[in-house]
Symmetry: C2
Subunit: 195 residues, 2 copies
Amino acid sequence: MTLSLRQRRRLETARDIQKATLELAISHGLENVTTEEIAASAGVSTRTFFNYYSNKEAAAIGVPPGFREEDKDALRQGTASLASDLKLFLDRHMGRLAADEAVLRMVGSVLRSNEKARGILDGFLASERHELTECLCARVNDRQVAAALASNATNATERAISLWEQEENLSLVAALDIIWEGVMSAARLLTAASE
Amino acid sequence: MTLSLRQRRRLETARDIQKATLELAISHGLENVTTEEIAASAGVSTRTFFNYYSNKEAAAIGVPPGFREEDKDALRQGTASLASDLKLFLDRHMGRLAADEAVLRMVGSVLRSNEKARGILDGFLASERHELTECLCARVNDRQVAAALASNATNATERAISLWEQEENLSLVAALDIIWEGVMSAARLLTAASE
DNA sequence: GCATAAATTGCACACCATGCAAGGATCTGG
DNA sequence: CCAGATCCTTGCATGGTGTGCAATTTATGC
């Protein structure tokens, strides 16, 4: 086995706490739930709750999946057009997010009403954006351009998730397709008749 | 006079509290400053502090200037290329932000280290993005494309501010020029050899 | 097994944020 | 200029948040 008993238990309680947080948040609203209630519902002491997460908003968000090294490598070394390589990268990442749709939907609901939670996620997204910028520097040789592309990409992901939340019967990857189409149209509009 | 004594005083104390918050945050870090200290420094009671702002992060951010109706009208009814009309719009907005550079710099410093503050600002930016999306719908007739353009625009503003914070001797509008160049290059790269 | 490291917990404490009610300042119309 | 309405400020009480510390229990590696 690759994980020790201690490590497995740690991951397990972390998940238990997040699960308890999200369930209580969905039924009563995160603002109206105390850390004490969450801890009790997860079967740990209040003090232990704070050993895992620094506050209830962080507990609700948990640890979102980051980019995979393999995917980043593929993007850096891709030989197709930048647009299609980038789309492929986002598709893979989105596929990973889709693995936990239930959690994603609950987290989204919390984010809509809680400022603090948004801030925590925003910090996480900022570091993802930075990571992607570094990665894209291997393709474009200009940091500002790489940053613009990375912003486009992470924004597209966010908007795709938001679209998926609104529309029933629309998968995450299908939502990303729609959003990406918009991104490409916007790029064409911006370049049209300029210069 | 257009404002009553009451209204003027209200604006004034709101500014006093923000000023006190930012000054204390700069010298000690917002985390290490209590609402009690801020209130005392602003010359009001703790209770009054909370009558103006719901927490110290909101007090630090204050009320950022939103988009002007005149600028939005100009964007909706613009006849030049979309890219240049949008750039003009952003330039005007940035000029307005530049009017209070000192505050902007202090707020930026707070945002870098405070999650809750980021979340509050992010909520504000989301509503600005939404506003801009509505506005752009008058130009592009497709909501997803408008949303992509609006994201590009607000992201460019954020990155321009961040660049301005890093580089000494670079004005806000000059920073926006650099960032915008990157946005346009990115758009060209995305459209190149695709389709 | 046994020493070591890590996890859990209770407790104390400072800080945050809100409701309520009393008192003071400002505004409005006569 | 004054009386009532309205808004603003404040103190107080209260419940929730988050951290430091020390004691106890539970894995781990030798």
